[in-house]
Symmetry: C2
Subunit: 137 residues, 2 copies
């Protein structure tokens, strides 16, 4: 069995917060929106249905965990949850906290506006808060 | 308890294929992509985490069922699965069959290009094939 490795594009665009039982959890470096990415550590998976039934159920629980963490840690009017993967084939789930006054509202975030860089310290503080809310050490 | 009713915007934009144990299944009227929409029949739900744990697990199974049906019934290079709901608050899941030569590829479908109307008979044939593939009567 091949080893699982985080896709280089996901590694570049996100900060690793830690591992849940199935997924590596990343915080997107785009400061426009608090944005988590869950990456199931299953070699070769590109679709949710590439996971077996137990893994799909676990992914669902991890999406819920990420969702609740965002709603606890940041101001949030709506969650957007998506598996798209048209550009990066490795299966990954977006969980994005949206606000009615964010840069792209009401449009989906993908390709809507250029990514914004976090101010010094801002991303570290958010990462700390989200790690605590998710229960990652 | 309030009765559940399909949101008028979802009713306008989709053809009802039938009901799974949790969700009403619709086929989008946008002919650019074979596109299913699952709408959990739970009054007031706007987020996946508004469903209880058993319902979330059932939704996951129904997403997998819709995904496999699309891959069986239509040519498909990639699935896009998403709960967005920034415009229509009623919880609904998009399951979209994407092709590398479709109108929006590799962009997500939402707002990418104007919706296209199905030719006479084309939507009925697709609805029939998808209803069979999903196992709806």
């Amino acid at each position: 069995m091949q080893d699982w490795q985080l896709h280089p594009t996901l590694a570049r665009d996100g900060l690793v917060l830690g591992d849940l039982p199935l997924s590596r959890v990343l915080l997107s470096r785009d400061a426009n929106y608090p944005w988590l990415v869950l990456v199931p550590r299953r070699p070769g998976a590109t679709e949710i249905i590439d996971l077996d039934e137990a893994e799909q159920a676990q992914l669902t629980r991890e999406i819920a965990q990420a969702s609740r963490a965002l709603m606890t840690a940041v101001p949030c009017d709506k969650l957007n949850v998506a598996a798209i993967g048209n550009m990066v084939p490795q299966l990954h789930l977006h969980v994005v906290a949206r606000r009615r006054d964010d840069a792209a509202w009401p449009k989906p975030v993908w390709g809507a506006v250029p990514a914004r860089v976090y101010d010094a310290g801002e991303m570290e503080r958010l990462a700390l808060a989200l790690r605590a809310a998710i229960g990652l050490r």
